[in-house]
């Protein structure tokens, strides 16, 4: 299948590993991945911060850039949620088939074992937008359970926000940090060496908190675990 990759603006710039791993996983499964180079940002930051006009322009631009592709994948549930769930109200249309990676694999392609090996103790943080906007459900855990050598440990208070929230993390830095501190404690309590999720920005927040707290727990995007062999 020909699949267009939306790397997202921050993913492209700050954590390209997740997008690279997405390419690796999909190509290994025999799919053709294309990267429309005109892509930039879906407009989520503008929309969530109250700048609707700018968000609208970026939404229209996104739909133009990806118009010719039947299936779009992104390693960010939050950006997928913006395109799929919020565009209809914002610009009156959306891309019919835009998926977060785990959704694409499990629901669209019917794949649960991507042939990955990752011999580590891992805990999964279900990000808010993957849970409540994009609603990826069990897809990430289904994929993780099929990874060879992995030891999955349950995260206490898993469904509680890590405190990122886009510009919330700087506008309300103190509250965001208090939320993060609790999230980091929960992660450390699992004894995991790796915390994974399907949103790079949340992982940036969690990772920043974990290293600041002096722990050795690392954060890895789900795609990176799925790409490991």
């Amino acid at each position: 299948m020909k699949i267009a990759l939306f790397a997202t603006c921050v993913g492209d710039t700050l954590f390209p590993e997740a997008a690279r791993a997405t390419v690796t996983v999909l190509e290994r499964l025999g799919h053709e991945v294309v990267f429309p180079e005109d892509q930039t940002c879906c407009g989520q930051m503008h929309l969530n911060s109250g700048y609707r006009d700018d968000a609208r322009k970026l939404a229209r631009r996104f739909l133009d850039v990806f118009a010719e592709y039947d299936v779009v994948v992104s390693p960010s549930s939050s950006c997928v949620g913006t395109v799929r769930e919020l565009y209809p109200e914002l610009v009156g249309s959306t891309h019919p088939e835009v998926y977060e990676l785990s959704e694409l694999l499990v629901r669209k392609l019917g794949v649960t074992d991507v042939g990955a090996t990752f011999p580590h103790r891992v805990t999964y943080h279900p990000t808010c937008h993957s849970l409540r906007v994009t609603k990826v459900g069990e897809a990430p855990m289904t994929l993780l359970r099929h990874v060879r050598g992995i030891q999955l440990v349950e995260l206490p208070r898993a469904d509680e926000c890590c405190g990122f929230g886009g510009t919330f993390s700087v506008k309300n830095a103190d509250t965001s940090s208090a939320m993060l501190a609790d999230k980091c404690s929960s992660i450390v309590a699992t004894g995991a060496d790796t915390c994974t999720a399907v949103d790079g920005s949340c992982l940036m927040q969690i990772g920043g908190g974990l290293t600041r707290a002096g722990t050795s727990v690392r954060t890895l995007h789900l795609a990176e675990i799925l790409a490991s062999t």
């Binding site: 990267f35 969530n48 109250g50 109200e89 937008h129 926000c161 965001s176």
Partner: protein
């Protein structure tokens, strides 16, 4: 409020006792709610029914209000209309004066907090006594509520013991909850028996019958509505339900969502005046105070569906860290963040719509399905409109311009390589980030560079 939510939150977050109290209390109530909601197979249908009834009421509010007024009058109640807080307060003062009353007993009511009724009564020489246990604590200490349902959630029992010992206790006290409750009971019982006028809010008003419905846990409300000769009930105009049968939906939704109980201990229903039974004079004050303005906003009006259960506070990761005082508003938490700016004007509470990480937990539990995240975004857009031009606005506009051109975006990626290390040293978003969080260095290569080179 100067500094708004971020600054007030910082103060509250510095109090470890408050954070521990909040954590315990919200954890307990969340678990209770989840348990009793989980046992209903038709919970989603109930939520949808609640949402539907509230939407219908707002859509036909004028008809339901006039129907309610006529039915209440027919049952012997006197109905008053108040455009704003001042009018509502003046009506209550007038009623008390007409009877020469200087002391009234009150049950817990957010609506009366919203209009600052107690202060208005005090100015007129009338003492209003709060009879809800937590409200009494706060009143005795000059404090104010921090939670819709559990107003004194931020206080602990040692503080309460000391406070009671200083104020109402007639004998030495321990900090055992039973002992504290007994002290309040002894104190309040006398007041209930003496009171000639009771003041209440209302959870629901039934348009069909003119009935006021009040749900509570302690029985103090039953005392306030039963013993005095005069009863004044103040309700926001959005509190109506069309028929008596509609209560069936809300009396299931409300207790399960708020206290995590299948049913609340006391449900009082009052329809006008019954000779020889209960208050012989009943007044109902229908309050607008900004509600018609909220109603005029197609997106924001769902905030008027709220039945004040506080489930959204208890699940909110922001509220459960900061507590209610940080919101500087009678209505705290997620519902406060969308209701207060609309009631008093976005310009008076511009930081509240941003007091959320948009995690969506509130929407998930709301018994009447208020899509709080959507309304937050709607209100943020209003804040931006009002604050234009601003430094943030210019930055966002510039970012939008960069994102609208591939070359510009790629240029910005290259520039970030130099600007990133510098920006960390300057005050601004990056510095605010790195105060508590590490920032990984920029990767050697953007994704698109890697893609182009492979």
């Amino acid at each position: 409020m100067k500094g708004g939510f971020p600054e007030a939150a910082r103060r509250e977050l510095a109090n470890p006792q408050l954070r521990a109290n909040l954590r315990n209390a919200t954890d307990t109530i969340r678990a209770k709610r989840a348990r009793v909601v989980g046992e209903l197979p038709d919970w989603e249908e109930l939520r949808e029914a609640g949402r539907g009834i509230k939407a219908d009421v707002l859509h036909h509010l004028e008809e339901y209000l006039t129907q309610f007024e006529a039915a209440a009058q027919a049952a012997g109640a006197q109905v008053h209309w108040a455009r704003d807080a001042a009018e509502a307060n003046a009506i209550v003062v007038e009623i008390a004066r007409a009877h020469g009353i200087t002391d009234v007993v009150k049950m817990k009511s957010l609506t009366t907090d919203e209009i600052h009724l107690n202060a208005a009564l005090a100015q007129a020489g009338i003492t209003a006594l709060e009879t809800d246990f937590a409200e009494l604590i706060l009143q005795l200490d000059g404090d104010w509520p921090s939670h819709i349902l559990v107003p004194a959630i931020h206080r602990n029992r040692t503080e309460i013991r000391d406070l009671f010992a200083r104020t109402i206790a007639t004998r030495p006290l321990t900090d055992d909850p039973h002992d504290l409750a007994e002290a309040a009971r002894v104190y309040l019982r006398e007041k209930f028996l003496d009171a000639r006028m009771g003041v209440s809010g209302a959870n629901f008003g039934v348009a069909e019958t003119g009935t006021i419905c009040i749900v509570e846990s302690e029985g103090n409300g039953r005392m306030c509505t039963t013993l005095p000769e005069v009863l004044v009930s103040i309700l926001g105009i959005e509190k109506l339900v069309p028929t008596f049968a509609d209560l069936e939906v809300f009396l299931q939704l409300l207790p399960r969502s708020s206290t995590g109980e299948r049913m609340n201990p006391y449900t009082s229903l009052w329809t006008g005046v019954t000779p020889g039974d209960g208050p012989q004079e009943m007044h109902i004050v229908l309050l607008d105070a900004g509600r018609t303005r909220v109603l005029a906003d197609e997106v924001g009006r769902v905030a008027l569906h709220c039945i004040r259960c506080s489930a959204c506070l208890n699940v909110c990761p922001v509220y459960s860290r900061t507590g209610g005082h940080a919101y500087g508003s009678v209505y705290p938490g997620p519902i406060g963040a969308i209701l207060t700016p609309q009631l008093i004007g976005v310009e008076k509470a511009p930081t509240l719509p941003y007091a959320s990480s948009l995690c969506g937990a509130c929407y998930e539990v709301c018994p009447v399905k208020i899509d709080i995240p959507t309304v937050l975004l709607h209100l943020r857009a209003k804040v931006v409109e009002q604050h234009s031009p601003s430094a943030e606005g210019l930055t966002m506009r510039a970012a939008g311009w960069v994102f609208r051109g591939r070359r510009r975006f790629e240029g910005a990626q290259r520039l970030a390589r130099f600007a990133f290390p510098l920006a960390r040293l300057l005050p601004g978003p990056l510095a605010s980030w790195t105060k508590t969080r590490d920032l990984k260095p920029l990767p050697k290569q953007s994704f698109r560079r890697w893609w182009a080179g492979r």
